[in-house]
């Protein structure tokens, strides 16, 4: 597993999005096949943007409160935060450039 990706709990999550870096959060679960297919894409972004963006994965089974707070109704869902605010939400799996294009506008 890549060391550039963080797996925050609810408290760590709040600190993370309040930080000075944009944050990309992948809401996922073990049993979700498309989530597992998106995994390598998220890891790749985590490596490429390790200096500029924090990349986090939130397991919706382990962190149901976070999933409920962001009204996650379908996974994978990727939410991109900047200065604590949601910049973009992408539901489903997409190629890397869908996410990096958004990140590039805010870093």
């Amino acid at each position: 597993m890549s060391t550039t990706i963080v797996y925050p709990n609810a408290t760590e999550f709040d600190q993370l999005i309040a930080g000075d870096k944009p944050v990309l959060v992948d809401f996922w679960a073990e049993w979700c096949m498309p989530c597992r297919m998106l995994g390598p894409v998220i890891e790749q972004i985590g490596e490429e943007y390790s200096d500029k963006v924090a990349v986090a994965k939130v397991n919706v089974d382990e962190q149901p409160a976070l999933a409920a707070r962001y009204n996650i109704q379908s996974i994978p869902t990727v939410i991109i935060f900047n200065n604590g605010n949601i910049v973009d939400t992408q539901i489903g799996m997409h190629p890397a450039d869908v996410y990096t294009r958004i990140l590039d506008t805010i870093i």
Binding site: A29, W31, C32, M33, P34, C35, R36, M37, L38, P40, V41, V60, D61, A67, N71, I72, Q73, S74, I75, T77, I91, G92, M93, H94, P95, A96, D97, V98
Partner: protein, 288 residues
């Protein structure tokens, strides 16, 4: 994850089988994945496929399958739900297992899927195409499954099993395989209602309040199958070499557009396989 195949071919109709035969001829490893049934099997008579005057669709299909089988290719039956391009290879969700391949040829035929009003707007906000993916998020909530695909029944039973208050909506009479305590409504979903998220679906004059609706069609629109795939009027956009906008991904047959004819499909299958083989050779020589 298993071994990586050179060419994964999605679809076991004329285009897919032609691609398989020609990929084998180029010495490539092939995985052929196919859902049950295709349009050719349904045609009573084929009178314009050269060399086989007045042959039935089933007979011609059998000949195609025998030809591929003689070369060691037979289709694995099942549904491909998603294909993820990862730059130098692809991940394929085939019946809940992930396969890997260097290239993919889509020979998926024509999807006759018509969208329901509200479906696109509420996708991911209560509308889902995959019960095993999103089902857990509806535990203790009300959901409907709508669809004629055989797996609609299995997925409804699955949702019921994990604690979703689920109703199956389908045309015709109650399927015998459906667990006895699951409500069944005979009919078709006319509209999906909701502002920010799904609130209800309509079936005829009735409105059924639900938190989510799972839509299970036998065919998936190409653009939902492969994220980022360019389509035009529902058909996959290809070059005259059967290349899509995604490197390593090719398409052949009815899914690339009219005329929806067998000789076009087999011809395109050949081109797609030869291009995929070339792509693999170029990729491998780059690695050396």
């Amino acid at each position: 994850m298993g071994n990586r195949t050179d060419i994964a071919i999605i679809g076991g109709g004329p285009a897919g089988l032609s691609a398989a035969v020609n990929a084998i001829a180029r010495g490539k490893s092939v995985q052929l994945m196919s859902a049950a049934g295709n349009n050719l099997e349904k045609s009573e008579n084929v009178d314009n496929y050269l060399g086989f005057y007045k042959i039935s669709g089933t007979e011609l299909m059998n000949k195609f399958e025998e030809h591929a089988a003689a070369l060691g290719v037979s289709a694995m039956k099942g549904r491909v739900s998603n294909i993820m391009p990862l730059g130098d290879h692809f991940l394929i969700n085939f019946g809940g297992e992930i396969s890997e391949s260097t290239t993919v040829i889509l020979a998926i035929g024509v999807a006759k899927a018509r969208q329901i009003p509200g479906e696109a707007d509420l996708l991911g906000r209560g509308v889902s195409y995959c019960a095993t993916c999103d089902g857990m998020l509806y535990r203790g909530k009300k959901a409907a499954v709508w669809g004629m695909a055989q797996d609609a029944i299995e997925e409804t039973n699955f949702l019921h099993g994990i604690g979703v208050d689920v109703t199956l909506i389908a045309r015709g009479s109650r399927p015998s395989e459906l667990k006895a305590d699951i409500p069944f409504i005979s009919g078709a979903v006319g509209e999906i209602i909701g502002e920010d998220r799904v609130a209800a679906v309509t079936v005829g004059q009735n409105t059924i309040e639900v938190d989510g609706v799972f839509i299970l069609r036998s065919s998936i629109a190409p653009s939902s199958l492969v994220p980022g795939l360019e389509t035009q009027d529902g058909y996959i956009k290809v070059t005259n070499r059967m290349e899509t906008n995604i490197p390593g991904l090719f398409a052949a047959g009815d899914c690339t557009g009219t005329p929806l004819q067998i000789s076009k499909a087999t011809g395109e299958g050949l081109i797609a396989a030869q291009q995929a083989a070339k792509y693999i050779d170029a990729y491998q020589s780059k690695l050396l």
